[in-house]
């Protein structure tokens, strides 16, 4: 075999492994890649300035000039959608990173030490579970003011127990496996065993859960923006766009609210599909 395809295969291999030959998952992955590219290169690819006002096009519907029409202020919906992907993806990304790290730490610590540590951490997670995430976010907005910061902190805290609970149960299972016990018998410290052996082996499953969480976090953050607690107009954000577009709906223009709504649904579904696919693959690997 020649060197070039091997090189390319190595680059694409992780992606191919995630799809596992499933066309739907492949499509979801393509959607996610397109979204990320759109977010990164937004200034280059968006047809208009997202904040530029073209009053002649107000609520125009789809035209060659404005493919997804323009909103009630005459701003290009497609361009706002593309720029909206930036806050739309950045927020959940931070939520997922923080909640995953936090949840893994809590979950693994609870599983590894057991006893009192486990009880305290588990009760703490239940406490957070019982507190409505949106309410927490609204309270934090009162402290930090509107913007992305408060919702991201609130969602990170709210999502950490989901990761933590999963991490705890998987780590408990993994901890009982003989290979972990063999390392104990070898004389390694608990810290080294956890970091070098336990975490890498449970990580794929946790990351699968985090990918699914990404979609939910995106939806929650959009909801906060919609309610006016998150990203503020005129910054383009999908949740805020639905809010602004809602009044346009009454005037018969569906696109300004519908387009971001569809974008949210597609993104959430795509993340769920990819997450489930990773989880399935991990489960299948476990079986062997």
């Amino acid at each position: 075999m020649t060197a070039v395809p091997i090189h390319r295969r190595r680059f694409l291999a992780p992606l191919a492994r995630i799809t596992g030959g499933d066309k739907l998952v492949g499509a979801a992955l393509v959607v996610l890649i397109v979204l990320i590219l759109a977010a990164v290169f937004a200034p280059l690819i968006s047809p208009h300035d997202p904040d530029a006002v073209d009053l002649s096009a107000t609520l125009s519907g789809s035209t060659p000039e404005h493919l997804l029409g323009a909103d009630q202020s005459g701003r290009d919906v497609l361009s706002r959608l593309i720029f909206g992907a930036r806050t739309g993806l950045l927020g959940p990304l931070m939520v997922v990173i923080v909640s995953t790290v936090l949840g893994m730490l809590i979950g693994v610590a609870a599983a590894w030490y057991g006893g009192v540590v486990d009880s305290v951490l588990s009760r703490a997670m239940e406490l957070v579970f019982s507190f409505p995430a949106l309410l927490l976010a609204i309270l934090l907005v009162a402290v930090f003011g509107v913007g992305l910061t408060a919702p991201v902190i609130a969602m990170s805290v709210a999502y950490a127990p989901y990761v933590g609970r999963l991490a705890r149960s998987v780590a408990l299972q993994e901890k009982a496996r003989p290979y972990i016990q063999a390392y104990k018998v070898q004389g390694w410290s608990g810290w080294v065993i956890c970091v070098k052996h336990l975490l890498p082996n449970i990580a794929p499953l946790i990351l699968a859960q985090s990918a699914i969480n990404f979609g939910y976090a995106l939806m929650d953050l959009a909801a906060l923006s919609f309610l006016g607690f998150g990203v503020q107009p005129p910054t383009s954000d999908w949740g805020a766009m639905i809010n602004e577009g809602a009044s346009a709906m009454l005037q018969g223009a569906m696109l300004p609210a519908l387009a971001p709504g569809v974008a949210i649904v597609i993104t959430v579904v795509a993340f769920s599909l990819v997450g489930e696919s990773i989880a399935d693959r991990v489960a299948r690997r476990e079986e062997r």
Binding site: Y179, A182, Q186
Partner: protein, 299 residues
């Protein structure tokens, strides 16, 4: 007094209200081979786990080459010293290796932890260990999932030997292997014992196996030692009914499972009846029959 490689006195462990290991004592001479035999729930695995520090005994003493290890290890030095005395090979070859660590790494890890070797010395020692268990360079680079059950168990043995322990605990180490492979591993273990003088503690329920691998035997039933002594004597003339039951349970031509089933029920009934009246006065230490722990390995 002889220095024993492993000495266990009055070991006891209970989980909740259930006594898993009750007053178990035995010892193992350097380079000796002892089998702890019993069925699940007999306390044999719990005993093994206490020896390597995976469970903490409620009471009793464990000494390896004279050094006490009954209490939790404090500090790194103690932990490492203990790991160099006693190692363990687990039953399931599919779960006892980290799936993400290559065979070579798996054997090098304990070398790195325990000995201040240069990378070159370490590689040389690793190759020596792998060769010792019959694995070559091709297997060394592989991840565990590329290996068969027998090969994985060889890796586990090499890994356990890396710290040069005085005693190796083999917890049903061949039970999950194919018969033709099990015999290979037994051959290998015998060879290693001959060459290195390591002592073996087998944990198993297979008496036919014990006959060929262990000098001495310790039969556990419901957490207690019911019979012990040289394997040859105990198997030739078992004195405790439970030992006899275990012996008869090994399938062979002309085997009568119905009789064994009847014996098993009779034994359980006898035990229940013997325990019930004495329970109020004094906890029943031994089984109803006249000759429980007649032979003991302890001096």
């Amino acid at each position: 007094m002889t220095e024993y490689a492993l000495e266990v006195e009055n070991l006891r462990k209970s989980f909740g209200g259930h006594v898993a290991v009750d007053d178990v004592s035995f010892s193992l001479k350097p380079g000796g081979s002892l089998a702890i035999v019993g069925e699940s729930g007999s306390g044999k695995t719990t005993t093994a786990r206490m020896l390597v520090g995976l469970e903490r005994p409620d009471s009793g003493r464990i000494r390896v080459v004279g050094r006490d290890r009954s209490n939790a290890a404090r500090g790194k030095a103690t932990r490492l010293a203990r790991a160099r005395e006693l190692q363990m090979v687990f039953q399931d070859p599919y779960l006892s290796l980290d799936p993400r660590v290559s065979v070579a790494q798996c054997v090098e890890e304990p070398l790195r932890l325990h000995f201040g070797m240069s990378p070159r010395e370490r590689r040389a020692r690793r190759d020596e260990l792998l060769e010792r268990v019959g694995l070559g360079e091709r297997e060394a680079d592989a991840l565990p999932r590329r290996l068969s059950g027998g090969q994985r168990q060889r890796v586990a043995i090499a890994r356990a030997l890396a710290t040069e322990p005085k005693v190796l605990i083999l917890d049903e180490a061949t039970a999950a292997l194919d018969v033709s492979i099990q015999a290979q591993i037994l051959d290998l273990l015998a060879e290693i014992r001959r060459d290195t003088g390591v002592g073996y503690l087998f944990v198993t329920h297979n008496l036919a196996l014990v006959r060929h691998i262990a000098d001495d035997i310790l039969v556990l039933y419901q957490g207690r030692v019911v019979e012990s002594g040289p394997t040859r004597d105990v198997l030739a003339a078992p004195e405790h009914p439970y030992t006899r039951l275990l012996l008869h349970s090994v399938p062979r031509p002309g085997w009568d499972p119905a009789q064994i089933a009847a014996d098993r029920r009779a034994l359980a009934t006898a035990l229940r009846e013997a325990r019930a009246p004495s329970a109020a006065a004094e906890p029943a230490r031994h089984d109803p029959d006249a000759a429980p722990t007649r032979r003991s390995v302890t001096p």
